[in-house]
């Protein structure tokens, strides 16, 4: 597959994976390996001293994966900026998946706070990958302030509903000057393939892998979906039309 380039860095995989909700660290690692992903997302939370857990990072090989911390849990720009700085202080590269989701019910991103935080973080030298609703105008505004990608949702986080906003995603892709990563809501390899066929540069999957009976095998399935979608996009898909068009010549029939 052709390489994905984000902020000047090349990746041979166009599938990013999350690390949340897995039943065990072993299942998470199996899914990462199956997916052949090179970018994995993580979140930041308070240490729970009453229930000590082993470190997540000891399961993620930093030579193999770029760690992409997110700002999940942030309800406004200030909280997102704080989380981004904490991630950098943890020793991560300054890549940040910017998420500002004040509404816990649909977890839809706040466009105004996201844009505000993006401006500050870009100025501080972060490579910012903002999670957004599929709003083409917002995507342009974020590009203009210097984000490294835009990450429109296909449907709300964890819903497995797939790409429910095709037309807006298509406009974002058409106008994008940075990679478009369809994030959230993709529940099946066919959903990932659909986003890639539309010309998305990459997708991010978490829930669909974490809740699979076999997360490792599901990682492989998504890898194939992403590759099939990308290859179809590059090969050039036929246009949809309403009228049938025969595949064989309409002459030489036996009844003629």
């Amino acid at each position: 597959m052709d390489e994905l380039i984000i902020a000047g860095r090349s990746f041979s995989s166009r599938l990013m994976v999350g690390t949340g909700k897995f039943s065990s660290n072993e299942a998470m690692v199996a899914s990462m390996e199956g997916s052949a992903s090179e970018i994995v997302t993580v979140a930041l939370r308070r240490v729970d001293v009453d229930n000590p857990q082993d470190s997540l990072l000891q399961h993620i090989d930093p030579k193999r994966y770029l760690l992409l911390p997110n700002t999940s849990g942030a309800r406004d720009a200030e909280e997102a900026i704080r989380l981004a700085r904490i991630a950098r202080a943890a020793g991560c590269e300054p890549w940040i998946k910017l998420e500002v989701t004040p509404d816990p019910y649909y977890l839809l991103p706040d466009p105004i706070e996201t844009l505000k935080a993006a401006e500050v973080l870009v100025k501080e030298g972060f490579i910012v990958l903002p999670y957004i609703n599929a709003d083409p105008v917002l995507a342009k505004r974020l590009q203009e302030v210097g984000t490294a990608t835009v990450m429109p949702l296909g449907s709300p986080i964890g819903t497995n509903k797939g790409v429910r906003n095709r037309d807006n995603i298509a406009i974002i892709i058409e106008q994008a000057t940075v990679p478009v990563v369809v994030d959230a809501g993709l529940g099946a390899p066919s959903h990932a393939a659909e986003a890639m066929e539309m010309g998305a540069d990459a997708v991010l999957i978490n829930t669909a892998l974490a809740v699979a009976r076999n997360p490792g095998a599901m990682g492989v399935a998504f890898k194939k979906g992403v590759e099939a979608g990308r290859e179809a996009y590059l090969a050039g898909l036929g246009k949809q039309q309403d009228k049938a068009e025969a595949s064989s010549p309409l002459t030489g029939f036996l009844h003629q």
Binding site: G20, F22, M28, V42, R45, R46, V49, A89, A90
Partner: protein, 66 residues
């Protein structure tokens, strides 16, 4: 003395630095990030940063996320 640790009141011994508190709580400083009164404290400064009564400490680490 009393501090607020990860949002909850916690009693600690007097004249203690952050590294000592982490050690007492068996927290590996390489696996966490510490915010002291809303300022991030770089790892190399944990030993020299003393805690005072009423201070706020946040100790944060990575967890699974999408």
């Amino acid at each position: 003395m009393n501090i607020i640790f990860n949002g909850k009141p916690r009693e600690t011994q007097a004249s203690i630095n952050i590294q000592e508190l982490l050690d007492q709580m068996q927290l590996d400083c390489m696996q966490v990030v510490v915010e002291h009164n809303k300022s991030i404290i770089p790892r190399q400064r944990l030993t020299e940063t003393a805690l005072n009564d009423g201070d706020t400490l946040e100790v944060i680490h990575f967890v699974g996320g999408g």
